[in-house]
């Protein structure tokens, strides 16, 4: 039944997240019943070619999925899955292009950096992108059959050419164990650093010639960060043995703590201060620029992590709702 699962996976690619699991569970049950019906007629199990024939007859995944999608008037059901696919796949590229453009502007533009304004402007960019893609598809839809021949997919297709099944993404047990070990080592390293500056500065620690050091605020920040990192260890350890649903929750909680750590870093604003007067002393203006750049880097990292966290949270909520509706598993 690998072919059936590959088929369902292909259909699922074009379905909306909401209700996807439920739709696929029902489709699986109906297709299995269809195959059993054929088996009863033949008096033997179906071979792969016959299973393929049932799926071929059922229709191309993109067409089948389009029939489960809500009806739209601007873009018809034939074109809608392609439109939706284009939007979903190209949106991350829009985000990336915008982020790169803004970063280039900050680095080379020589203007004052305003992260809030850059983020606030993004909805307009996203809206424009959505409008342009929608308009393009709407014009194409309108022109089909009027100004140029309607695009129709051939009815004949080969289910055996469907891509292999991809298991739901998630870290393996081994990688989770490795992650926990690395986290313990990192935390041990961080705790050892105040008494052993060599761990950060290497041989330079013995020279005592550094003309700048950490701000006094670090005494507070440092312990806040250590406490938060300590908190992630039991969560990561629990995730090793938890079921899938709980594991996702624990991973989300760990990511939430990661965001708190970045928030602590952003809060600091000033990270380095001059230690003594001397010829090697970096100018105050330069140090201020370094502090500003560090703070900006932490802000950007925080913004990216918050967006990713919200995305993961939304996915988890949608998935759990979908699973609740289709709690009945066919197998």
């Amino acid at each position: 039944m690998d072919l059936l699962e590959r088929y369902l996976q292909a259909v699922g690619q074009y379905l909306q997240v909401k209700g996807k699991e439920d739709t696929l569970a029902e489709l699986r049950a109906n297709l299995l019943a269809e195959m059993e019906g054929r088996e009863e007629e033949l008096g033997r199990p179906l071979n792969e070619a016959e299973v393929s024939s049932v799926l071929e007859q059922h229709g191309r995944p993109v067409i089948v999925a389009s029939r489960y999608l809500p009806q739209h008037f601007l873009i018809g059901p034939g074109l809608f899955p392609l439109y939706w696919y284009t939007l979903v796949k190209s949106f991350p590229l829009v985000v990336l292009a915008y982020a790169v453009a803004q970063a280039a502007n900050f680095i080379f533009g020589g203007r004052n950096v305003d992260i809030g304004a850059a983020i606030g402007h993004f909805p307009y960019v996203a809206f424009t992108f959505w409008g342009v893609v929608t308009l393009g598809f709407a014009v194409f839809e309108y022109g089909q059959g009027r100004y140029f021949q309607q695009i129709k997919l051939e009815k004949a297709w080969n289910p055996r050419e469907l891509p292999d099944r991809t298991e739901p993404k998630g870290p393996s047990f081994a990688s989770r164990v490795a992650d926990l070990i690395v986290s313990v080592l990192m935390l041990s390293w961080l705790i050892a650093v105040p008494d052993h500056p060599y761990l950060v500065l290497g041989p330079g620690a013995s020279l005592q010639k550094l003309s700048f050091g950490l701000t006094p605020a670090w005494h507070v920040l440092y312990w806040q960060i250590v406490r938060l990192l300590l908190l992630t260890l039991p969560l990561k350890a629990a995730a090793l043995f938890a079921g899938e649903k709980w594991r996702r929750g624990l991973e989300l909680a760990t990511k939430g703590i990661g965001i708190l750590i970045l928030a602590v870093m952003v809060q600091a604003r000033s990270y380095l201060v001059p230690l003594r007067e001397g010829s090697n002393l970096p100018s105050l203006a330069n140090l201020a620029q370094v502090n500003y750049s560090l703070n900006l880097a932490f802000k950007i990292a925080l913004a990216v992590c918050v967006i990713k966290f919200l995305w993961d949270l939304w996915e988890a909520v949608t998935r759990s709702r979908g699973n609740a509706r289709s709690f009945v598993r066919v197998f």
Partner: protein, 117 residues
């Protein structure tokens, strides 16, 4: 003289004609409970072939519109989603059947007049 009809046009008109009839047939058949596959078989046994990829999404749509109710239940060691006409669906079906009968009678009269004329 024979008139050559474009296949696309015939297909599109045929599909429009069938669309409304299929909804009526599905609603009528679901006065008794069925799941997707047995419903398709029941309709086919009575001469109305309908593609799976058309029927299953149609059931979802009719349920969303409140005309059908559904529940997951185990049958023959497998969970299946069973559909049945809702109270609202029953009322709509009665009205649609009255409409259908009216159209059918009118069409018969039109065709009869044409033959006699």
């Amino acid at each position: 003289m024979t008139v050559e009809l474009p296949n696309d046009l015939f297909d599109s008109l045929r599909m429009e004609l069938r669309r409304g009839c299929l909804i009526l047939a599905v609603l009528a058949q679901l006065r008794a409970e069925h799941y997707g596959y047995t419903l398709r078989k029941a309709l086919a046994d009575q001469g109305l072939e309908i593609e799976e990829s058309t029927l299953y999404p149609l059931l979802r749509r009719l349920e969303t519109q409140g005309l059908l109710t559904s529940e997951w239940r185990e049958e023959e060691k497998r969970n299946k989603r069973f559909y049945r006409l809702s109270a609202e669906g029953r009322a709509i079906l009665d009205r649609l059947l009255a409409e259908w009968n009216g159209i059918n009678e009118s069409l018969h009269r039109i065709l009869k007049n044409e033959k006699e004329g």
